[in-house]
Symmetry: C2
């Protein structure tokens, strides 16, 4: 089970930058009470651990026969799958026969490199878009669709769609061309969808049992509504982070795991937190970080820069490799002291030292502790962070499931690209391009 | 040549969130005048484009005979090399015979995977540490050193050191064991060292001519002290970013390139900016971002969250792949409009639409424009951002070349690991571990 250490956010440890236990517990109780009213249907993600995965497993069985598996998707349709790939099958494409590419950005160069590397005949393409109208995903889908057809290959053998159960462009095409499809449950929105077929199909393809992910998530889901605070760490975390913003004006939340395998989880969490809470002038900026790497990059700023951050460590007890650093160069003190320790001791000691250094400088920090990195724990982490984020949204009084602020940019893109119904926006782009620029 | 568009930071475009041209130009002039006094010897990095690279080229020639090239280094010794690898040789390890691993973090699992993949006999290890005392780098060096010797291989054939010219542990070992070595110039500090052997050796190994990088950087260096503002975009950028903090309290600087190949440049820049400026309570938080990806992650927060950000776009005119999106599914409007455009048009239109959307919501943003991504332009970008950062440091009145805030964490690590002279810190760690924790 995941544990949460919030000692270094308390007044008794860091003085006036800290919070009192009573403040934290009051807000934590409030978050549970708000959640219990189930004010949004999108809270259905909490029930995902109880789904039936037989259809996913069946399609994955077939998918494992292909040498290349490509995910086309962006945002919630890419970040979750990427966490699963990098956390649970690191260096996948150098170590394993099934190579996986997650093409999210519409970068033309990346596209070119991927098609140079793959063999289309041995490639299965999983197109993921809840709405079926994501411009980036559809653009790359069209390119692959044409290539598959130009080579006289059967689209039914080379595509799997993951999309809405009832509507959208992908649903229409799937019906017309009999493309195998998986459904994203109606009430689950993109950034909370990693535990749907969005993430679970890829998991199964790379050999991760979806039931292990769900089993881990289930332990967390079962605690979401518990009023006994000692059984509800999500409520504590949501409360602390919310109060750090509201009472202490700390507007940057650094997510800092000490494991390369969790680097992409930082990015996944940053989408979840930013898009869920950043509205109505509210929310904080989640910062994707990595230890020990960022001790040599960001720590200086955290220690001596503006007083605007909360650091959330993720520490891993067992990294799964215990080889000792050899005892060599005894006469050189700068090397001698390392001998006899393991890399695990070093990375975990650095995590501890950084947490201590921050505390000694009165900088608020917290720690999520996990025993190791495996599918069960990754499932727990996903659900833990998703529920925490939803709870924080309820404390802020915002809808944690919409993203109205991205519509304007989409409309302008549609206008510039000539989509029907967006002619006004097209004109606006044209006028913008005519403006005088201050440029050197 | 790199261009800078700062229209969307001006009052006439974004109202009271903006700056006046006269404010910007006054501060820009000040930054040039401060730089011209050359107040720090570490400004020597500006002269790096004029170095002789013959020794680097000679060692690289030999290095290209190995199948695996491993960089051991962290912070400035890893981030710069990683930019070169990913910007100039994308998917290197899937496409090319010379595989490169940059092992920075002391993650035990990553170490295990790398040694499973490589063949030690065919591996050259470049150990990079200016001081020669970086714990992470030395720990992994010791593990590789032992493995090389256990296999009765010649250390002189499998290691290259990149370190200080005069002192430090690596220098001592290099002298004793005749390890081929390259020097990091005395006055150049880690995060400004990518254009020294730190980055240039790797460049040559992956087939990038170091003189092209330096040629690009030279064009920028030659403009560093120019008082004619139209020839000094670095002064404009430093001035705008400094004033956005000082006058508008915008404490988060989002670095947002629209190209996968520049994703790691975001991370490199974030070290440069954070460690150079984050001191004495000053500085802003540089945020590593990527377009279009983060339009589906962070844009919601930028558009409707707290008013604390400046967005710095990097847009790329030519992405080097012009294939058209096919015109298929004419009857589905959600797909029809994409046909006939290229991915390049789409990604660049999205960049433009996002910049417009931010401007329409009065959010300050700026844009660096580059014609394409190649070694010349990457050299320019490095030097452009390094000089801008140093200038910003001078405007803030801080020393942009030190990092006093990371010392405490290092001392505590030394203490916990049993390094001589750090017994007090060792005790502090022990006492810390005995404290009561608030943990659930």
């Amino acid at each position: 089970m995941i544990r949460l250490d919030f000692s270094n956010i308390l007044t008794e440890e860091i003085g006036h930058n800290g919070l009192s236990l009573i403040e934290i517990e009051n807000e934590a109780k409030k978050s549970i009470s708000l959640l219990s009213k189930k004010p949004y249907k999108e809270l259905d993600f909490i029930n995902l651990p109880f789904q039936d995965t037989s259809q996913i497993k069946e399609l994955a069985k077939k998918a494992r026969d292909y040498e290349y598996f490509i995910v086309l998707g962006i945002g919630g349709s890419a970040l979750g799958p990427r966490v699963l790939l990098e956390a649970l099958s690191p260096f996948n494409n150098l170590r394993k026969k099934n190579r996986v590419f997650i093409y999210d950005n519409v970068d033309p160069a990346t596209f070119k490199y991927i098609i140079e590397i793959i063999d289309l005949k041995k490639t299965l393409i999983n197109v993921i878009s809840k709405s079926g109208s994501t411009a980036e995903t559809l653009a790359s889908f069209l390119l692959f669709w044409r290539m598959i057809r130009d080579r006289k290959l059967d689209v039914r053998q080379h595509f799997i769609f993951t999309t809405d159960s009832e509507k959208g462009n992908l649903k229409m095409i799937a019906d017309e061309y009999e493309i195998p499809s998986l459904e994203i449950p109606k009430n689950v929105v993109g950034r909370y969808s990693v535990l749907t077929p969005v993430g679970l199909l890829l998991s199964e393809v790379i050999g991760i049992k979806s039931e292990e992910l769900l089993e881990g998530a289930k332990e967390i889901s079962e605690r979401a509504y518990r009023e006994n605070l000692n059984e509800n760490p999500m409520a504590y975390l949501a409360s602390c982070l919310y109060l750090m913003d509201k009472l202490k004006n700390r507007k940057v939340l650094v997510f800092l795991p000490y494991s390369d395998r969790l680097k992409t989880m930082s990015e996944w969490f940053c989408q979840l937190w930013a898009e869920s809470l950043g509205k109505e002038g509210k929310g904080t900026t989640p910062y994707p970080s990595l230890g020990t790497t960022d001790q040599h990059s960001q720590l200086q700023l955290w220690m001596e820069g503006p007083e605007d951050k909360v650091i959330l460590f993720v520490s891993i007890d067992n990294h799964g490799f215990q080889e000792e650093i050899p005892q060599e160069f005894h006469d050189i003190e700068g090397l001698r002291y390392l001998g006899g320790h393991t890399l695990e001791e070093l990375i975990n000691t650095e995590q501890l030292a950084t947490e201590m250094a921050l505390r000694m400088n009165k900088k608020p920090n917290m720690k999520i502790i996990i025993p190791k990195i495996d599918s069960f724990i990754i499932g727990q982490l996903f659900q833990f962070l998703q529920i925490t984020t939803a709870m924080a949204g309820l404390l802020y009084g915002v809808n944690p499931f919409n993203q109205p602020g991205v519509e304007l940019g989409k409309r302008l893109t549609y206008g510039a690209m000539g989509k029907r119904g967006f002619e006004t926006e097209g004109e606006e782009v044209k006028n913008y391009l005519k403006r005088q620029r201050y440029m050197i």
